[in-house]
Amino acid sequence: MSRSDVVIIGSGPGGAAAAFSLSRAGFNVTLLEAGPRYRPEQDYRLDRADWEVRRFPHKRSIRRRHTHAGLQALDTKWDTLRSWSRAQGRLIKGTHRAFSQYSHVMGVGGSTLHYAGESHRMHPRAMRLHTDFGVGADWPIRYEDLEQYYSEAERIIGVAGPEADAVRPRSGPFPMPAHAMSYGSQRLGDGCGQLGMSWLPNPVASASRPYDGRPPCNYCGQCARGCPRFDRGTPDLTFIPKALAAGHCRLQTECEVLRLEAGPNDRVSAAIFVDKQGAQHRVSADFFVLACGAVETPRLLLNSASRHAPDGLANESGLVGKNFMETLFFTSSALHPEAMGSYRGLPSDAICWDYNAPDAIEGVIGGARFSPATLEADLSGPLNYAQRIVGGWGEKHHEQMLGMFGHVLSVGAIGENLPNPRSYIDLDPEEKDTHGLAKARIHSHLPDMELKRLEFMAGRCRSILKASGAEEPVEEYGSYDMFNSTHVFGTCKMGASAGDSVVDAQCRSHRWRNLLITDASVFPSSGGGEAPSLTIYANALRACDRLAADLGQQRRVPA
């Protein structure tokens, strides 16, 4: 058995920032990651001719770790939200919403390894949904509590962004100037201008100039397949090397935690994990930080039920796994008569925040944001155009390829997803993983409020495209008829009261005081489309700053 001051489980944004914060403060940290390390120059082969056939090169499959419950029936009144493509017709053929994927990477850096680098601060008003609008839940902290940590995280990962943000007050400028928008995004900006909508550079953790030893981005647009250039500020290149350099952090990869042991004195005593060779280990610590994402974190807690925690660890409120919030999205693509070369540039290099506030969309509570999405739609090269947009075969196919390739513009919207009782994570009573542990089971339901918001998002996407001159729709897809989530939240909600939350404002379990959770499962609300990674970093830095202060205080007290 080994021992550390702190054991951190998961090396995505929440775990990496915690490791950095605590090792910097001088605490011995063991960082356990279930997945392997990725080697950008070897694993992300965007220099190969067949690059487009390959997506992100997952080394461990998340799909074997979760199942899903049946999803809701589709209703013809929402048919305008159905997913379809010009070449393939309706993408979801059945009568019920389909489960596409929970998109999650197991590896050092977590799901940021295939992200576009969007680095957003929460809209301050999206953190007060219950008080101001009577829906969802409030955050027990304010935007102001996060601001200094937002700034620190932006410096560490290297965010390039615009100068001003009237809604989200900043204590300083972004570390790097914003990237130039791609040609296609500029045309979408023209369309937004015609509609009276703003269109600003999107803050991204991608270098616009040499930064902290990283080269600037060269706009290949394939962030989702993994960046081989080291220019994107993922935790494996930023927080984790800095944590290791501090000399107090030990990273152990391919070590999967099976359960946490609860002691009789309301303290977690150890983590039990298996290594790559299958050997089982037990590591004890003063503190445990859990950061596995809003599906795996509740799964681990529920699988850690014991006589001291019969309903699952930290589940005294019964809320572990509840309040599951998913990625509510809609993407629309249309042909522009002019060649755009729209496969070039940073994904989501621009953003419209006009409808991001919780009351910005008439008739619903909860906002949304709009961005270019050609690259998220993966209209990235000739093969995707051939299969999904052009279709057909023979001479006509070739003629249409000449007329369409690089002409598609896409706009994507991501919106608030309010919690509801039918969206939650529990343990599948039937399905076990290779270790005999119950898999997580994802339950998802979209009530009418979500579908109305989605309807607004779809309408705006189409309007932007049309105003930009892209008038022939070729593909649309969204959350209405398929579950497809990368950003997930809420399953270990943070709150002031032990009765209606899992962790307190310092991300510590109300009962198990040496257990912290620092991933997006603690988010009480999703925000109006903000990408969560920057808030995860900032919140983890904040919680661990406080933990380090408390631990330091204890160490200074004479025995």
Partner: protein
């Protein structure tokens, strides 16, 4: 090249007429979900390389700007893949037989001997056949595979003014019209 040889010119023919000539039975025998399991036999025929080449070159023909699929080795890639996939091997072999049989019903000695329009008529029948029937599975599988191989070859990118792959150069002129950067 085989795809341009037209020993047996057959004019354009409607799908309905073609189906009648070939006999509906040949088009509608249903296969199980895993197609390959349905054709196991002790004497699987060898796929006709000529027929397969003509097939992929009809799906992705040569033109003033585009090379034909066979020039990029697409047909050879299919055969190579079939060597390590018995199910695919059986599909290709049976599919080539079906294509040749369809061509004979139109008066040609084989699929590769047909004119371009004749081959296109047969492929159109396959495309619109019942899902999971041999012709439909053949069309869907070989088309998907051929597209992947064809558009993974840089020779197919030139006509599209695509300056890939994405790395190592990226797209430094991303903020300007492609007309200015190509």
């Amino acid at each position: 090249m085989a795809t341009s040889t037209t020993h047996h010119e057959v004019g354009k023919i409607s799908r309905r007429v073609l189906m009648r000539r070939m006999g509906l039975a040949a088009l509608t025998f249903w296969l199980p979900a895993r197609w390959s399991l349905g054709l196991a036999s002790d004497a699987d025929p060898e796929p006709s390389a000529e027929t397969l080449r003509a097939f992929v070159d009809t799906l992705l023909p040569g033109s003033d700007v585009f090379p034909p699929a066979s020039a990029l080795g697409v047909d050879r890639s299919v055969l190579e893949a079939a060597q390590s996939d018995p199910g695919l091997a059986r599909l290709i072999a049976a599919g080539c037989q079906w294509l040749d049989r369809a061509a004979r019903s139109m008066g040609a000695a084989s699929f590769s001997e047909l004119s371009g329009s004749g081959r296109a008529s047969i492929i159109s029948v396959a495309e619109h056949s019942a899902e999971r029937s041999l012709p439909w599975v053949l069309f869907s599988s070989v088309r998907r595979f051929s597209f992947q191989k064809y558009y993974s070859a840089p020779e197919s990118w030139g006509p599209l003014a695509y300056a890939g792959p994405p790395q190592p150069l990226g797209f430094p002129g991303h903020d300007r019209s492609p007309k200015e950067t190509t």
